[in-house]
Assembly symmetry: C2
Homo-oligomer: 110 residues x 2
DNA sequence: TGCTAATACCAAGACGGTCAATGTATGGAG
DNA sequence: CTCCATACATTGACCGTCTTGGTATTAGCA
């Protein structure tokens, strides 16, 4: 999987995952891996900066917890984050159908 | 439309367009615009470098022509280009269904 | 003891996209 | 006739995001 494709959908996917409840970096990686059918292995080097970015933009909030001796930083989507998520979801759909249009595959998918 | 989404699909779309016959930069922009339903306005600053890149990789060949006083540089897909196109198409499908999986929208689209 | 998993973070570098400028030629508005 | 828009290609500066890979901590296991 060409990593360049991820650019721009990373944040969308993170917001989506967090829209279903708070989570932390390490777990988000697992969730995305599972839900993508094993295709997307988010790298820490892109995940954490993205998380910080989204937090700076107030789309996420965060808090630390302790779990069996290990520190976890939970991220929680904000109201603004949900709004952005909705916008990005629809942007993604527009984008995907645009690409499919160019590829001559506008109908259906597996 | 967030331009970051384009990263990685630009070349795919260009190869696709060229798989249907030789074309030149300016025309490729129009073709993609039309076939994407008016959504993708390729910028010259990304299009031409991409064209040159693909040519360097021997996925495209090129030749100049003259048309009503204006110079045109036609690009033509190579056999290697077609192979790459096939690979990228399937990569795109995997990618799109991965994203849709994360978004919980694996079925159908308009 | 030392390795692995869980967990978070950061710095350096590559790469591709945007903006905007440059250059040439044709054709139409005034 | 002049000016501007359109057709067409190229390039350079800038920016943002991704990858790689290294740091750091704690728990648990060989």
């Amino acid at each position: 999987m060409d990593p360049k494709l991820l650019t721009g959908t990373l944040e969308l996917m993170m917001l989506e995952v967090l829209s279903q409840g708070p989570s932390y970096g390490y777990e988000i990686v697992q969730t995305v891996l599972t839900r993508s059918g094993g295709h997307f292995e988010l790298k820490e080097g892109s995940l954490y900066p993205a998380l910080h970015r989204l937090e700076r933009q107030k789309l996420l909030g965060s808090y630390w917890t302790e779990h069996e001796g290990r520190r976890r930083k939970y991220y929680k989507i904000t109201a603004a984050g949900r709004k952005t998520l909705a916008a990005r979801r629809s942007e993604w759909q527009t984008f995907a159908s645009g690409v499919n249009g160019v590829l001559g595959m506008e109908y259906g998918l597996a």
